[in-house]
Amino acid sequence: MADADPELGVQLKGQVALDERLVRVIQSIEAPQGLITRLSAFTRSDSRGEGPLRSQLLHPAMLPVLLGVVVILAFLVWERVENAASFPGKGSVARMVAVAQGMNGTELEPTQSQAGQLADAFYIRGFEGFRLPPELERLPAVGSRVFKQSGHPIAQVAVDSHNALLYVFRSADFGLELPEDGQWRVFSQDAWGCALRHSGGLGTVIAFRGTTAEMHRFLLSLGHD
């Protein structure tokens, strides 16, 4: 159409000339090399998966990787917890606690004294040197007995607090090897929450049906955790 109209043709030629001239001048402008190098390097490293971890993690393709990491971390945490709860003699302690599952209450001799006052009664039954940690001494005892495991005596006390059972034994009898630091170590055994303390050559176990969290709360209620 512009070719057919001379005036329009001149106008168009002028416009094309202007465009070409301006494009040439604009194209002669060079960006600072430092800027291009800097931004090129930035965009390359950012785009090849080396960018901010946060944005990479949000990518759907990263979800399986994230899941794998979470599983591995969970396993490591579980293993660490298991190792922390494991100690020489734990098997014997576990068997001790398991004995309670077959009890019906008639095995225990009824008593109404405080748990810490049963040393003489236990001495008569063949367990010498019964002693409880101070935080357990005032707990009301409702029954007690001495039973043997692998030929070694164990003093057992039922207390009227959280339906807990206390076990006292000589640590050497059962191969218990833990620092005698007076600290409670909480662990679970089947459906039982347990706490073990080693002091003065004696091992003391608290056990009741429940979780380790409940055991921690119980210890806190005694003024100890």
Partner: protein
């Protein structure tokens, strides 16, 4: 005027549209240069263009991958750059100065970067244009977006863009000395 090219390097994926923002994250130096020219034409200063482009590209690189439609990426990037160029800056170039002169010594930032006098004149004439003529004409002369995308970035219909470009052409032409076209 031949326009085309790939905005982003995409070694593993061929370009399906000349102005598509094919992007695996690699903004080519050629495109970075075009973006710098766009920023320069809008801000009128080399140091401002440098700073604005640096900030926008750094910021956009973290976000542009989230735009799934490749055809929108270039427009988005240009729109962000334009928006940043339009923001008032303390070093805003010529507002309080006299008419530009390539020999007047009032544009050290541009001369320092080795701009030829005619490029300097053109940058300053561009910067003196009103919006949206300035952005429309700059994008029309640069190899970044197609007409539809230019219209989209500027929020214009295609007919309006055509009118704006015609008006911008007349304004830039009238602002340039005839000598400009002799060299």
């Amino acid at each position: 005027m031949e326009r085309g090219g790939t905005l982003f390097l995409e070694p593993d994926c061929p370009a399906t549209h000349p102005h598509s923002t094919l992007h695996n994250g690699l903004i080519s130096p050629v495109v970075l240069t075009e973006l710098y020219r766009f920023a320069l034409l809008l801000t009128g200063r080399g140091d401002s263009a440098d700073r604005v482009l640096d900030a926008v590209v750094s910021d956009c690189e973290r976000r542009i991958a989230q735009i799934r439609d490749e055809s929108h990426r270039a427009a988005w990037l240009v729109a962000r750059l334009r928006q940043s160029c339009m923001e008032p800056r303390p070093e805003s170039p010529w507002a309080a100065e006299e008419a530009p002169s390539p020999t007047g010594g009032s544009e050290p930032a541009l001369f320092d970067q080795g701009l030829q006098p005619e490029a300097l004149i053109l940058v300053r004439r561009f910067h003196a244009l009103p919006e949206p003529e300035r952005s429309a004409l700059a994008l029309f002369y640069l190899d970044l977006l197609g007409p539809e995308q230019i219209a989209q970035v500027l929020g214009l219909a295609l007919e309006e863009l055509s009118a704006v470009l015609a008006r911008g052409r007349r304004q830039i032409e009238s602002s340039l000395n005839p000598d400009f076209f002799q060299s």
